[in-house]
Amino acid sequence: MKKKLNEIRCTFCSVSQNEALARSIVTGFLLSLDPDVDELADIRCAVSEAVTNCIVHAYRQTSGDIRLSMTYYSDRTLKITVADNGCGIADLAKARTPLFTTAPDEDRCGMGFSIMESFSDKMTVISHVGHGTKITMIRRLSPSDKFPPT
């Protein structure tokens, strides 16, 4: 049976400085798990994409809260959720299509979802137009001889 070992839940404003903050939170939270350098880089990038989506798309010209939570379990699986109360996504299939973007004139390249998907073992998106979007990503980290700490 896998046990929940640690969890963090935080809420921050949808300002672009917080993209770097979110990545720092990821690094800080995962440090005790002794993650592989590439795995940590993957997860930092996936969270950065999710948070950027909230700022650029969900809240567009408005602002609001972004909720980031991370949980890790004894089998080294990590569950990350990023949620907003923004505009929601009308056509999820389209949004998840590589290179599709609703904001090409702002230099968005339409790769956010593809990157999140490729950097997690499983990604689910729940979205309600006018209410918000919640992304859940699951990633199992490779074993480390320094974990669990003795």
Partner: protein
């Protein structure tokens, strides 16, 4: 914090990017790159990525977004010395078809030394 340095030499407009390139930092450097590109109309616009520690799809967007504008004025785009992660991301977006990815000798030697 400075995220980019732009210099012009021998027909190349070189944009040297540093540190973490995300949506936040891209917003701050994009206009400077465009202004310099229209002023110099270089043969190539070079993104030097050897000092980039982190880049997400916003960095891809920065490069791709410049492509359309550069193409109009006959400027080619070169991405120089991306790290493996960044090169993989560039390939994920299939942008190696429209621009050149280049590894200079100096960075190759660095790799061997590592």
């Amino acid at each position: 914090m400075e995220k980019s340095r732009i210099q012009y030499s021998d027909g190349e407009l070189i944009v040297h990017l540093y540190g973490e390139i995300d949506h936040h930092s891209v917003c701050a450097i994009r206009n400077g790159i465009d202004a310099a590109m229209y002023e110099k109309r270089p043969k190539s616009l070079v993104f030097e990525l050897s000092d980039v520690d982190f880049m997400d799809s916003s960095g891809l967007g920065l490069i791709l977004g410049r492509y359309a504008k550069a193409n109009e004025i006959g400027t080619g785009i070169i991405v120089r010395n991306p790290k493996l992660r960044q090169e993989n991301m560039l390939k994920m977006a299939h942008i190696q078809k429209i621009l050149t990815i280049q590894h200079t000798e100096a960075s190759q030697n660095e790799k061997k030394a590592e």
